[in-house]
């Protein structure tokens, strides 16, 4: 990942950290699911791909994804001139970064507690 892409990933991660709550569910398995579902749907929205809304859970992930996609477009004008292939790469990088911040590199000692 080049420096421009790294910087862009960081801008998107900062937006999530400041304006979202979904990435901080209580346990590691919750966070894995939240990050995967919401960031995948966000990528699909940004790339004009169909989004699965077949279950209540899907709709719930989708509303956070819509907020995120709109927020990204508003705060990161460079997103509008990226092609879809690059957006997918960007979102993959973002997913890895959010996984690191909230799960793999997290200092939160409660993430692995087996019960709620």
């Amino acid at each position: 990942m080049d420096d421009v892409m790294k910087d862009r990933v960081e801008q998107l991660a900062d937006f999530i950290m400041k304006w979202c709550l979904w990435q901080f569910h209580s346990r590691a398995w919750d966070r894995e699911r939240q990050n995967e579902e919401i960031l995948t749907k966000t990528m699909q929205l940004l790339c004009d791909e169909p989004v699965n809304l077949s279950t209540p859970s899907d709709r719930c992930y989708w509303v956070d994804a819509v907020y995120l996609a709109n927020g990204f477009k508003k705060t990161c004008p460079w997103l509008g001139i990226m092609d879809k292939k690059d957006i997918k790469l960007l979102m993959q990088g973002l997913k890895e970064r959010i996984d690191y911040l909230t799960i793999n590199g997290s200092l939160n000692q409660e993430l692995t507690n087996p019960i709620y």
């Binding site: 950290m17 304006w19 709550l21 901080f24 569910h25 719930c60 409660e110 709620y116």
Partner: protein, 521 residues
């Protein structure tokens, strides 16, 4: 690691990892205090106990319930004079509380017989109330009274009553948070699914983690109902016992205070497949986004946008009036749990005040993740601070106002730093668009109060000016604003009413009623 060591705690090495300063380039993988650990002996923590968290935070806001503590009478101290979780049934749950008044003889010989008689006496004293919540305390837990068995026996003898038992003794966790956890799990284990609620809309939610402090929950429910959404239950502010038994029928759990009630949302998702949507009910932008998210789940975007537009147009000029006068003021944001992250960024974005410190007595590391992520560089985050650490932080940071509870607030007053009560509130509700303006108004009033001109004078030695009066708030706050003349004419101080909650009770909601007429299931 950016850990901060207080001078006063150098003699307590175990405190070393409980405070951090967010430095340049720091993220959560390097900057996070410990949290939700047993209190360190010698620190003189200011935490509450697990019983307090269970009963006085989550259980007692249920409004049509006799709340009975099975223990010494002192355990049930916190009622109408310290708590402000109001209700629309004349505040029954605030005005009345009960304790079995355990004494030494009960500790020696057991208190189950006495408990049973107390339960019956309570129902006789309040014949219109058929629901009860019994809270175990340290004393009754240690002697092993089987409260569940006694409650079951009474329910067999009195079939028209229903009793919930919460076994969260004071020692049941490091802090009040242990009690939040226990009562969440006890409620879903014992009561959810035992009552079938009436479904009146295609759009049904539980609003979880709002205790209706000075009407907060009622403000939010008004928004939801204006959209046509049925709020099946509020966990637990101003809610009935039976509505909370029917939580399993909602389509969505809208979660506000994840600290106190994420457990029940997680369990409702696991057991009943109801999704959990975390929201921010404070601040114009986060609240607007939250209302829109809930609306989008049901396809009600137009309804949400109409509310957002109307409320923003009405209240934004008043928020801006205060924001202009609060810009650059420093605050310590020292709440209980969730306001640490609900407010850390938005109070700075929308009111212009700088959050120089966040703390929580009972927050978990997950709360500090949210708070540290949202606050600005340089902020000091403290887990479970003691009084001396609070004093040292105030001396170091020189805040203009401290937003906290009564106990640390009174300490800050002695330091001549104004404080705002953000647990029970000063002039809430603070949720909603108007509520956010009320908070700005209260911060403004605290910071610019004329009393500060007098309170710093020592009549035993200072010269007291007798030839002039003291300056009013606006004379102080408007010095620069008048000079540069930049205040748009529509900006104005708060113009709302003193009581903005009572008028919501009995209000008609055409969109919700039209759902009922369609016989929606």
């Amino acid at each position: 690691m950016p850990y901060h060591t207080f001078k006063c705690s150098e003699c307590i090495p175990e405190r070393a990892m409980h405070a951090v300063i967010k430095g340049s380039g720091e993220d959560l993988t390097s900057c996070l205090p410990l949290g939700y650990l047993n209190t360190i002996p010698g620190t003189i923590s200011e935490r509450g106990c697990a019983f307090c968290g269970a009963k006085h935070v989550i259980g007692s806001p249920m409004k049509d319930v006799i709340h009975l503590s099975h223990g010494p009478v002192g355990c049930t101290y916190d009622t109408w004079h310290t708590k402000r979780y109001i209700s629309d049934n004349d505040n029954f749950q605030l005005k009345y509380t009960a304790a079995t008044d355990m004494k030494e003889k009960h500790v020696v010989f057991g208190a189950e017989k006495m408990l049973k008689q107390n339960i019956i006496d309570c129902f006789k004293a309040f014949p219109h109330i058929k629901r009860m919540s019994i809270y175990q305390t340290c004393a009754s837990a240690l002697i092993g009274d089987d409260i569940n068995a006694v409650a079951k026996k009474v329910m067999e003898e009195m079939p028209d009553v229903d009793i919930f038992v919460c076994n969260a003794p004071g020692f049941g966790g490091p802090s009040q948070s242990g009690g939040h956890h226990k009562i969440n799990i006890a409620w879903i284990d014992q009561k959810v699914g035992t009552f079938e609620p009436e479904i009146k809309s295609k759009y049904v939610i539980n609003y979880v983690g709002d205790y209706n402090i000075q009407g907060d929950a009622e403000i939010m429910i008004d928004f939801f109902q204006r959209m046509g959404i049925q709020v099946l239950s509020t966990f637990t502010g101003n809610c009935t016992y039976d509505d909370l038994r029917g939580m399993h029928r909602a389509h969505l759990n809208v979660l506000e205070c994840a600290r106190s009630s994420e457990y029940i949302c997680n369990e409702l998702r696991k057991r009943y497949g109801i999704p959990r949507l975390d929201i921010d009910g404070f601040g114009f932008e986060p609240l607007s986004a939250s209302l829109m998210k809930v609306a989008m789940f049901f396809g009600l975007e137009k309804e949400a946008q109409a509310i957002i537009d109307e409320e923003t147009a009405r209240w934004r000029p008043e928020l801006n009036w205060y924001a202009k006068r609060l810009k650059g003021k420093k605050i310590c944001l020292w709440p209980g749990g969730s306001k640490l992250w609900h407010w850390a960024h938005v109070i700075e974005e929308e009111m212009g005040v700088k959050v120089v410190s966040v703390y929580s007595k009972f927050g978990h590391q997950g709360d500090f993740e949210k708070g540290v992520a949202r606050c600005s560089e340089g902020a000091l985050a403290i887990d479970d601070p003691n009084e001396l650490e609070g004093l040292e932080a105030m001396e170091m940071l020189q805040p203009d106002c401290v937003l906290t509870g009564v106990r640390p607030g009174e300490v800050s007053k002695k330091m001549r730093v104004p404080y705002l009560n953000i647990h029970a509130y000063d002039n809430g509700p603070y949720k909603g668009f108007e509520g956010w303006v009320r908070l700005a108004r209260d911060i403004y009033n605290a910071i610019y109060s004329p009393i500060h001109q007098l309170s710093g004078l020592d009549i035993s030695k200072d010269e007291i000016p007798t030839d002039k009066g003291f300056m009013t708030r606006q004379m102080i706050s408007d010095v620069n604003i008048i000079e540069d003349g930049t205040t748009p004419i529509e900006e104005r101080p708060y113009t709302g009413e003193w009581d903005i909650v009572t008028k919501l009770r009995g209000k008609k909601y055409p969109k919700l009623e039209s759902q009922q007429q369609l016989g929606m299931v």
